[in-house]
Amino acid sequence: MKFKHFALTALLFQSCWAWSQTDTTSDLLSLLGEEDPIIYSTATFKSTRVINGQSIENVAGGVMDFRISHRFGTLNSGIHKFYGLDMASMRLALEYGITDNWMVGLGRSNVNEEVDGFTKIRILKQVESGPKKMPVSLSYFGSMVMRGTAWADPTRDNFFTSRLFFCNQLLLAKKVDDKLSLQLTPTHVHRNLVATSDIPHDVFALGVGGRYKVSRRLAVNAEYFKLLKDNIPGATNSLSVGVDIETGGHVFQLHLTNGSSMNEKGFITETTGNWNKGDIQFGFNISRVFTVKKPKGFQE
């Protein structure tokens, strides 16, 4: 008798419990105990370049970026040179993402007949939200440039290594909010051959850059590379301002700058233009991306 009562009560309770279960299981998903996902900051900059210098962005894995860059002559060159537009320095490049975090590139500049090869590797990724915290993104950039011009003095012993230049950079970036991103770029440049013995082989510089997004498709950028020692005759600090215009697969970067070189060792250590004197050059970078290796699930 007692057991019967107990059992009946238990059954009743249980069916009530089952009912209440069905009425209140509004969060079934929580049964699986999923933790909050890590959301990384993306699109800190629109392009792999802030303007001249590298940005924290990489080309995605399997994607080829074909880049055409021009720097025209100085605006103060007057009407006979059509304010600089008659002259153009050029760089053509193919840049490829081996993975999402590792890219390489090969470029050719007509200034000093230079070929540059580089690699860029992500080290840290800024975290927007989630169980892990990371306030900034960090990447390493390294490049080598080979100058192709005829030897200045063909009568002496000339070595191939004298044609080489190297650049190491750390890219430290912060996406402050949806619109504003900032970047610090400590830079080391090594030149194997310099004109005289009192000109340094190693040059250190600090770059600062930023972008402000005006709309989904338009951003304003600025960039400055400060040479840490004033020991390169005639060299000025590289200063550039510009806009990024994004369409489907293209990014157009239009800017004003004070140098002609489009590789790192070039615009950081060989810029001679002075903004105050009107040595301002119009320039553009056009980036067109092609998906070379389709991601999983999209291969034919």
Binding site: A7, L11, Q14, W17, D27, L28, L29, E34, V63, V289
Partner: protein, 183 residues
């Protein structure tokens, strides 16, 4: 004798209320946008689904950043401009299989049922009803459905100059191979 019957009833009801949840963490959600200019397709293969066969409740959760596109730039634009993944990281569905009793998960076969509920994308919820199939075989239930979502219904704005590239009506496909959730 009564004791035994009651005990069995008790036991049976206990197991009946507990063994009724199926789930997966590797479910599929895909979408497809078709215009004269281009087709855009994206797949997410790590979607969480959970179904309670007693109540008929079904819930789905997908991380926006896990949608993979053919072109990396599309993926970036999707997350940055359209669904704003940093603000709204997840798309979720909370709903009910209307005639859940018509599905016998103990008996192999293909069943159809209406699923209705609220889908939240880009922080905006809207109710949908869709016909889904449930294929039961050997402890697995493969649930599958297809329906359309309008971007504007979820406050996703397509720029005027891209109306030719991105369809206003997106076809959503859902597929999940569910197995029993063991506690």
């Amino acid at each position: 004798m009564k004791k035994i019957i009651l005990s069995i009833a008790l036991l049976a009801s206990v197991s009946a209320t507990q063994a009724q949840k199926y789930f997966t963490r590797n479910g599929h959600l895909g979408f497809f946008s078709k215009t004269n200019m281009e087709d855009i397709k994206a797949n997410n293969e790590s979607v969480t689904y959970i179904v309670d066969w007693t109540s008929g409740e079904i819930q789905i959760s997908a991380l926006q950043t896990n949608f993979k596109f053919e072109k990396a730039l599309m993926q970036e634009h999707y997350n940055e401009n359209y669904v704003e993944s940093t603000k709204f990281p997840k798309a979720t569905f909370k709903g009910k299989i209307e005639n859940v009793n018509a599905i016998n998960i103990k008996k192999d076969g293909t069943y159809t049922a209406n699923v209705s509920g609220s889908l939240e994308i880009h922080g905006v919820s809207k109710n949908y009803t869709t016909k889904a199939t449930f294929k039961v075989s050997g402890g697995h239930v493969v649930a599958e459905t297809k329906f359309n979502v309008k971007c504007a219904d979820h406050n996703i704005k397509i720029e005027a100059n891209l109306k030719n590239n991105i369809s206003e009506s997106i076809e959503i496909t859902a597929k999940a191979d569910l197995t029993e959730l063991k506690k």
